[in-house]
Amino acid sequence: MEPLWQEESADRGLHEEELVVDIGGFEGPLDLLLHLARSQRVDLSRISVLALAEQYIAFIERARSIRIELAADYLVMAAWLAYLKSRLLIPQQPKDEGPSGEEMASALAFRLKRLEAMRDAATRLVNRNRLGRDVFARGAPEHLVSERKSDYDASLYDLLTAYATLRQRQAITQVTIEKRHVWSLADARLILARMVGSLDDWTALDHFLIRYMTGPKERATAIASSFAASLELVREGRLEIRQDAAFAPIYLRRGPKPIDAATLAEMEAARG
């Protein structure tokens, strides 16, 4: 399994030293599997599906261990491969339903082979002599006496695009968007200024906010805006901010230049 991690890949893949797992470079789990399979450097029909399943699962576990968020597809494939692995390792029971481990493995190998075949086909296709690049049409065409039944032209694509755009436009104009309360920066700044004014002790940011929260829907906007506002207030020396560790609570307290009534009035005005 080790060579896998040293696999040199031009623009995607993984690099051991930097511990980068570039899952974004792969187009889905099958693509990743195919990449892993190629590193076995054997014909896809003679691939060890078991080894492949293990490599894949290891890859996914590694990605998760460094907190890479994986699309559900990748996890589903990992689960399926784990299942496949168990089917391959445990002898088939006479009463087992569904395909045998071997059948599942063949199906997987088939899909990989088919995907690879399509990749190769795509490469061959794109390298053909292409019109406008390698071969050229008449540069100064003359107009033929019309061969069409209709004097008008449009493609199905034009038609469908027009229809889809129209319907979507119409549908959207009829949608009433629910009014969503958003904390503006000015809002958050004012709220913080009002509250922090008298605080000598470190207090968690959340503590300030929760009082103002009417519902969970506002939580995200409240946190985002007040955090941004608090950074600005810190820069202005009106606030001090502290966080002990990543993801730990954020504490706030009054800064060296406390907020006086005049500043507060100014903020009120700014908020409009």
Binding site: F136, A137, E142, Y152, L160, A162, V175
Partner: protein
């Protein structure tokens, strides 16, 4: 023999290209092919100087062009010289195959495309319904264009007050757009899947399954000869409003 003779050294031409002595026939043929391709692919008549710069060194461009011209002389396409430029032109006696007046195929306007699409999906559909879906008035000209294109037809009359005419698509419509039947038009899922509808499709968006062209719907009457005459009177070209 005759072939070889062509490449024997001749007198230097007007431009005094002294290099041209004993030309390899293969080279001449190569030059001819290049010149032919260049003139063919060029949007404008192409200068002899340019051709000369592209053909193998030492080949007399003038001679190459005369040879090419001669070999095309009896064909359906001729190589013609315009000043010191070259171009291919349809043989004069065949000019009937090409259009002299630049009557290009007309592109359908966006409005016409929209109306056509609505008729295709929502048929049988009345003009009022088309306008309701589009949210704007449809000019008579738009429907006329679609009729003229041969893609839209009167289908019948709705059994509602006023007996409005219903529109539908034609066989030519299916042929032109490569559809076997009207029900082959992609539905909402397919439009979404093909990226034509964006992901955030409102839930109130309904795309009907079009009704086949030949079946009249329950509340439709067939169009009679009478109706057609009446409609013919009702749709005079003159009152076009756009």
């Amino acid at each position: 023999m005759a072939e070889a003779q062509k490449y024997l050294p001749g007198l230097p031409d007007d431009e005094g290209d002294l290099e041209e002595v004993f030309i390899d026939p293969g080279l001449a043929e190569e030059a001819e092919r290049i010149a032919e391709a260049l003139v063919f692919a060029s949007a404008q008549p192409i200068s002899e100087t340019y051709i000369a710069s592209r053909i193998p060194r030492g080949v007399d461009v003038g001679r190459i062009m005369s040879r090419l011209k001669a070999s095309y002389a009896s064909r359906g396409v001729n190589l013609v010289q315009v000043a010191d430029h070259w171009a291919f032109r349809t043989a004069a006696d065949l000019s009937f195959v090409v259009q002299t007046d630049e009557q290009e195929v007309k592109k359908l306007s966006r409005a016409a495309l929209e109306v056509l699409a609505i008729i295709a999906y929502h048929q049988p559909v009345t003009r009022a319904e088309i306008e309701d879906i589009r949210g704007v008035q449809t000019s008579k000209g738009t429907l006329d264009v679609l009729m003229e294109a041969g893609w839209v037809r009167f289908r019948g009359r709705r059994r509602t007050p006023g007996r409005p005419v219903t529109f539908g698509t034609t066989r030519d419509f299916l042929d032109h757009f490569g559809l076997e039947e009207i029900r082959d038009l992609p539905g909402i899922e397919e439009l979404k899947g093909a990226g034509l509808l964006s992901g955030r499709v409102p839930s109130n968006l309904h795309i009907p399954v079009p009704v086949g062209e030949d079946e009249l719907s329950d509340n439709e009457d067939p169009i009679t000869q009478m109706d057609l005459e009446e409609l013919g009177l009702l749709t005079p070209k003159a009152e076009e409003d756009d």
